[in-house]
Symmetry: C3
Subunit: 343 residues, 3 copies
Amino acid sequence: MGNSFLLSELAGKIGAVLHGPDAEVTGIAAVEEAGPGTVTFLSNPKYARQARETKATAVIAKDPIPGAACSFLLTPNPYHAFACTIELFHPPVRHAAGISPMAFVHPEAEVGKEVSIGPFTVVEAGAVLGDRVVLYAGAYVGKGASVGEDSILYPRATLYEGVRVGRRAILHAGCVVGSDGFGFAPTPEGYRKIPQVGTVEIGDDVEIGANTAIDRAVMGVTRVGRGTKLDNLVQVGHNVTIGSDTVIAAQVGISGSSRVGNRVMIGGQVGLAGHLEVGDGVMLGAKAGVAESLTAAESPAWSGIPAMPHRTWLRMAMLLPKLPELFRRVRRLEGRNRPEGEE
Amino acid sequence: MGNSFLLSELAGKIGAVLHGPDAEVTGIAAVEEAGPGTVTFLSNPKYARQARETKATAVIAKDPIPGAACSFLLTPNPYHAFACTIELFHPPVRHAAGISPMAFVHPEAEVGKEVSIGPFTVVEAGAVLGDRVVLYAGAYVGKGASVGEDSILYPRATLYEGVRVGRRAILHAGCVVGSDGFGFAPTPEGYRKIPQVGTVEIGDDVEIGANTAIDRAVMGVTRVGRGTKLDNLVQVGHNVTIGSDTVIAAQVGISGSSRVGNRVMIGGQVGLAGHLEVGDGVMLGAKAGVAESLTAAESPAWSGIPAMPHRTWLRMAMLLPKLPELFRRVRRLEGRNRPEGEE
Amino acid sequence: MGNSFLLSELAGKIGAVLHGPDAEVTGIAAVEEAGPGTVTFLSNPKYARQARETKATAVIAKDPIPGAACSFLLTPNPYHAFACTIELFHPPVRHAAGISPMAFVHPEAEVGKEVSIGPFTVVEAGAVLGDRVVLYAGAYVGKGASVGEDSILYPRATLYEGVRVGRRAILHAGCVVGSDGFGFAPTPEGYRKIPQVGTVEIGDDVEIGANTAIDRAVMGVTRVGRGTKLDNLVQVGHNVTIGSDTVIAAQVGISGSSRVGNRVMIGGQVGLAGHLEVGDGVMLGAKAGVAESLTAAESPAWSGIPAMPHRTWLRMAMLLPKLPELFRRVRRLEGRNRPEGEE
C-alpha cells in the first residue's frame, strides 16, 4: 500500500533483468486482473496468451513472450521473484510488542523479548517463548511447551504440554499439536487407553495449516522436520517422523509410526497406513492410499489406491471407464470360442 | 416447547392442505419416534410402510398414503413444509443484545445495534459488525474484517484480518476463514513462503460448518457465493471461487484457483485439483476425485477417481469385484487360442 | 519420572510372569530406543529380531524370544500390560481443583466437587459439570449442556447447547459436539435451513480426537456409545448412531442417519453414505467408501470404493495395475478371432 518502484529498481531487488522500457509500478496482481501500473508473474509458459493480453506494465517470467506489449522482469525462478515482489509491495505486518492485560501468562513461564501476546491467550507454567514470538488471541501454550524465536501462533493454535516448536514457525488458527495419539489396548471390558507420554517436535521454518492435528508420541517423539509445510486439516499420527522441506497438502492423513522423508510432496487427501516409510523426494498424487513403503528409486511419483507408480496409474485410470466394454468384448470372444459340446 | 396447533391451523401456516380429521398437535418428531399428538414428515414415498405404522397424528407428505390411519398435511414440497413446522414448534433462539464485559472489542472497531458479544471474543481494530450480529464465546474477528447484519459466529469461529462476511451467514464453531493459502516457492535453501496478501469474501446466507477452513487469496479474493452451504471440515484453497446455492458436504477439499459454479452439489470427501472449473448444476458423487474441468452438459453427475460420468462409474464399479474372474476368463481364452507352435 | 520397580514387583502389578533374572527398571521405552534399566514391549512376534537386539532390561511379551539376552514379563495381553506399565512410570496428571478467576461460569450453572476450570473457559446457564471434571483453557460448555464425572475437555473443546457427555470421557482440543446438522430444503429462492433441534449424547469412556466434529440431530439424538473412540478430524453427521467399543480412525466421515454397530473398526479416511447400517464387529479398511448396509456375517472386513469384501478387494487391487496389459491381451485375442469377412 503506497509503495512504488521503477522496474529497473525492482529488478535489482528481486534479482531479475529488465527487458523492455522502464516504468513505475505501484502494485502486484494476478495476470487476469493486472492493470496498468502493476507487475504480474507467469510461472508457466503455457499461459503465454495471458501474458500477451495482460494490461500489466511488466511480467515476471523466465523468458520474454513474443508479441507481448509489456516489459519483462526476467529471472530463472519467477515464482521466487514473485514472492519477493509481493513482500516489497506488502511488507510483513509488524506486531506491536506487549502482553495483553487480558492474557494469562503463568508467573513461572519464561517470556523472551519483544513478544506480542493477544487477549485470552494462555501460557502455562514452565512454558518458554523465544524473542519476538507472536501469540494471537486465544492461542494456548501448555505446561513446559516451548516456542522458538520469531514464531507466530494464530488465534487458538494449541500446544499441549511439553511440545517444542522451532524458530520462525507459523501455526495457523485452530491447529493442535500434541493431542494424545490414538492407542487403545483391547480388554474383555472394552478398550483401555494407552497413556501417550511422548511429545512432539516441530522444526524451524515449519508452517502448519488451519485446524491441522499432530499427535504426541506414545513414547518418544513425533517429529516434523525443518522447513516442512503442512496445509489445513492434515492429520499426523503418533510417532510419525516427517523430514525436512516436505510439502503436505490439505486433508492428508499419516498413520502412526510412519516415516516420511525429505523433499517429499504429498497431494491432497492422501492417506498413509502406519509403520511404513516414504523415501526422500517421492511425490504422492492426490487421494493416493499408501499401504506399503515406497521409494523414489522405484518410481518418482505414485498414485491410486493402493498406490502404484504414477505412470501405471495414468494408463490404468484411463481404462477404468472402459471396463464394461472390456467385459462385453470378453463375452463375445467366449461365444466364438465355445469348446465343442458346450452351449 | 409448549407450542400447540390444530392441524387445520398448521396447514395454513406451512402452505399445506389438511387431508383427514383435524386434531391438536404439540410437537414434531422423526417418523420412527413420533407418538400421538405429534406431526412427522415423509420426504420419500418409499417409506410408505413407516407412514402406515406411525403413531403420529399427522404426516407431512406429497400425497396421502393408502392404508395409513393418520391425517395428512399435503404439499408439493414436504421438506420445506417440514422446515417451517420445526420452526413453529422450536422458534429460533433470541440472543440478548449486549457486550460481555469479558470480551475484547477494540475502541476502533465499529459495532452495530443490538449485537450480542459473548465472553472472550475478540473484535480487532477497524473490524465492522452489522446490526444484530451474534458472536459466541471465543469468536475472533480480525483487523478490518467485517460481518454483515444478522450473522452468527459460533464459539471460536475465526476471521483473519480483512475478511468480509455477508448478512445472515452462520459460521460454526472452530471454522477458520482467511488463513494463508498454501504457496511456497522452491529455492536451493528450501521453500520460501509466498505472502498471501489477498482476502476472502463470504456471501449472504452462507453457512460454514464446524472446523472448516477457507484460505485467503494470494492476491485478489477467495469467494463463497450467496446461499452456498459448506458442511464440517471442508477445505477451500486460495483463490477458489464458489458460486451461489451450491452445497458441499463434509471433508471435501477444493484446491487453489478452482472455480465451482452455482447450484453444484458435492458429496462427502470429494477432492478437486487446482485450476479447474466445475460447471453450474454439476453433481459430484462422494469421494470423487476431479482432475479436470467438467460441465453438466457432458454429464449431470460424476463419480470415481478420476471422475467419470456417474452412469459409467456405476457400471464400472459393479464390475470391479469381478476383475479377478475376468483375468481368469482371458487366460482360459488364451489357452484355447494358442497359435500353433506356442506352448 | 523418578519411579523405579523391581521386575518381580512390576510383574505382580501388571499381571505378568517374570522369566529371567530380576533387576531394577526405571522407565519404559520403544523397543528401538530402549536402553539398560528400561522395560519395553513386543506386541507382535514378527519383531523378534528387535527383541534379540534390544538393550532393554526386560521385554513385555506373550512368549520368551529364543536368543534374547533380556528378561521377559510374560502375559497373554502384552498391549494391555504395556498400558499398565506406562501408567506406573507416568502416573496421570492430577489437576488442581479450582475455578480460574478468568473463567466465565454462569451463576445458574451447576458445578460438581473438585472440578478444575482453566482461564477463558465458558460454562453457560443451566450447564452441569460432574465431580472432578477438568476444563482446560478455552473449553466451552453451552446452555444446559452436561459433562459427567471425571471427564476432561482439552483447550477449546466445544459443546453446543444441550449436549450431554458421559463420565470419564476425554474430548481433545478443538473438537466440536452439537453443531447443526447439514440439512436444507431446496426452494425456488435457494436453500432454506432445516432447524436442527435435536441433540447429541456421548457415552461414558468415550474419547474424541482433536478437531473432530459431531453434529446434533435434526430431531432426536446423535449418539456415540460407551467406550467408543474417535480419532482426530472425524465427521459424524446428524442422527448418526454409533454403538459401544467402536474404534474410528482419523478423517472418517459418517453421513446423516447412518448406524454403526458395536465393536466396529473403521480405518482412516473411510466414508459412509447416509441412512445405512454397519453391523456389529465389521472392519472397514482405510479409505473404503460404504454406500450400502453391510454385516460381519456377509464378510468380516470390507474395503474399496464402493466397499466389497476385503478378500475380494485384495485380489482386485492387485490386478488393477495389470489392466492395461489385460486390454492388450484381449485385443490380441480379438485379432486371432476375427470372424471371416471382417478386417
